[in-house]
Symmetry: C3
Subunit: 306 residues, 3 copies
């Protein structure tokens, strides 16, 4: 069972809670194949999507998830939310709380912003990405996608490739995969691997070709130039040459390897188009599972309150 | 009873109409405490939130109010609405009218913009703030909040403190409180009190400490630097020193005094955090009442049309 | 009957398909006069309005149309969609497809963008304007408006006046009117008439006064300075003097002539206010018909899928 008020990060979750979320998401996938993809479960509930950082796909994913459960949705976009600057996040939380919404889905550039919101207000909070800290719903989506295609998560060897340092997706996945019993290997240039990260029980490898050899799944990360304050590699071309996943490099991996990417992909940078569009690429399965996982979370969190 | 097509300002309203709005809002507050906070009253009605000036809290308050009554809501934001510049407000009104919406909620930097809309089009118009002219729904929210906490409005002494000159909230409250029989005292530096305002039957005081002595309620206004074309006081620090409400100054007020603020608050400028967070501060009650008052207005205006 | 997955342009449509759309739109107009202007027809369907180019009126028209059919609507605005730049349109289409929406309504500055979307994804696509290529829903709105007021389209003489070169409205109307048996005359300065356009079976006239003499309908186009890369006429004033429709020039037209304009109008440029506001101006009828035509299209396209 799931009895939390909030979903703030994977780090706090128990293995059983993760299993409950994944099982619930699987049952919601059936609804999504119906001609009328809507159930009245959350009628009268209000979900506020507060995206302080720009995002199209995650916001739409949450908005569709909420609408398929018949909840009312309200969007606060970066352009309008920046207009309430001057107001502290805590004051904003208390103001929103006074309007009595049921859930705030928040994306924010400041790590810990969702936690602050959850602490000061009685509405539920779902973290849709906070700085370079966590992006828990993406990691849950990734677990569901692996489980669907491999039948299990435990015991698998998973590579996470790229800019680990700035990636909340990587952090959440390191926690999530670890809790579910998978082995995680981080692959990237030394400048993009955070120091002391071995303490999270991961292995580290700087050569892509060596690192992927025995992996069941390779998760590629998006190179987000906009999030880097200084230069961590000589050039995009250099990065692509060393860490872009091409068929040439993939040939070193074992049979049945699966490719994942949280999107949006940079074709020709971290992923070669022939890899992105291959049958063993699960990139679009991840998008589809995004809606099911977010429906499950809205349902479990608001169900627990009823 | 309430038979108006529009809510453009408090100045036009009769005392009885104000009472009807407040009574209706009180009855809607009950709905807001239910697990399913939604009634089918305005199903099939279309509410357009046309915010030409940025606003997050008022727009969300109207959007939640409309959705809890099951109306369909459409947002026109500053960024998109600026794109129809070149089109006159009158042409835009006629265009919207041809789409047959039921209510347009409009915030606009030009005083009188809602009145123009209401004059040329057959849809209903609610003024959500027009320049420095009126912000009638905020004043109604404030009346409801005072009434709930003091049991009455008539005979109370209310102080309005700060930038009266640029404040549509102050103007609407001066009208509203006057009509309901309260006595209004304006407190602020001479540069921020409009000339001849005494004609609206208010008293004026330049010292905060003197002015609040016998008040039942102190309404603080937000210092909106962005709305000032020239400098009306030496510095923020100077303003805070003289007119910021601190516990030190508040000690001069009588027992049972209540603090209000339309938000968002500038902590440490017009209000000390210890005052903002005190049990006698009604700032968050005002936000909660905002939804009830806006539900009442949507209901009364569209009900009158049925 | 209408069995298409998409509405990409008028050029592809058969005459019978156009008639079906117009007949369906007429039947939806009745719903729009009811007190509850909503039917459950598309409950559970998801319509994404993806406006890569700014637009207020077309987006609102589609959003109202979808909501009156009880569909769920999701907006992607220019400001948020620009944030997924770096992602190719094709990747974005596949990503949206993985979320399983029913229809994407797309406005895009690139001609052919809707066609690409329709080709790569299994959701339905409605073209809400692609570059200077087509704006098919506007042309259908114009046909419906003419048919309502003239009782027929066949055999009528229609003038389209202004910047033909940059106008997707003109292109779609040339196809639409031609298919329905009307005669089309293009009127404008030589610099704004595309070369070889006579091949589309239209006549060309450079003098407004001569050109409108025997016309049943005069469609004026908006002068969109923002879309011109170089100067096509000496000045706005010069354009207004030669091609602005004034009562003086209109006196040369035959009795019963009707005036149309896709909006928003530039008063005093392409249209004199006395003409815009005359009883024979159908500009606002076009706006009203916009919702009925878009409801019809959503209904026919999604109905065919059921």
């Amino acid at each position: 069972m799931f009895k939390r008020k909030d979903l703030l990060g994977i780090q706090d979750l128990q293995r059983e809670e993760i299993s409950t979320i994944l099982d619930t998401a699987e049952s919601f996938k059936e609804i999504l194949t119906r001609p009328i993809k809507k159930v009245p479960t959350l009628r009268g509930k209000t979900v506020i999507n507060f995206f302080h950082e720009p995002s199209t796909r995650t916001r739409i994913s949450f908005e569709i998830a909420a609408k398929r459960l018949s909840a009312d949705t309200i969007n606060i976009s970066p352009s309008t939310s920046s207009l309430i600057k001057g107001e502290s996040l805590k004051d904003m939380a208390k103001t929103l709380e006074a309007m009595n919404p049921d859930i705030i889905v928040i994306r924010h550039s400041a790590p810990g912003a969702p936690h602050l919101l959850a602490q000061v207000a009685k509405f539920s909070v779902i973290n849709a990405g906070d700085g370079a800290h966590e992006h828990p719903t993406q990691a849950l989506v990734d677990l569901l996608t692996i489980k669907e295609h491999k039948g299990k998560i435990k015991g698998l060897q998973i590579a996470i490739v790229g800019d680990i340092l700035h990636s909340r997706v990587a952090r959440s996945n390191i926690f999530a995969l670890g809790k579910m019993g998978a082995k995680v290997r981080l692959i990237g240039p030394p400048t993009l691997i955070p120091p002391f990260i071995e303490q999270l029980d991961v292995s580290i490898e700087h050569s892509l070709e060596k690192g992927i050899r025995d992996c069941d799944v390779i998760m590629l990360l998006r190179i987000q130039l906009e999030r880097q304050k200084r230069v961590f590699f000589p050039s995009i071309r250099e990065y692509a040459r060393l860490y872009g996943l091409t068929p040439d490099k993939l040939i070193k991996a074992q049979e049945g390897v699966l490719i994942m990417h949280p999107g949006p992909i940079n074709r020709g940078v971290e992923i070669d188009p022939r890899v992105a569009d291959a049958p063993f690429s699960l990139i679009l399965d991840q998008v589809t599972n995004g809606i099911a996982v977010r429906m499950a979370l809205l349902y479990l969190i608001l169900g627990g309150k009823r």
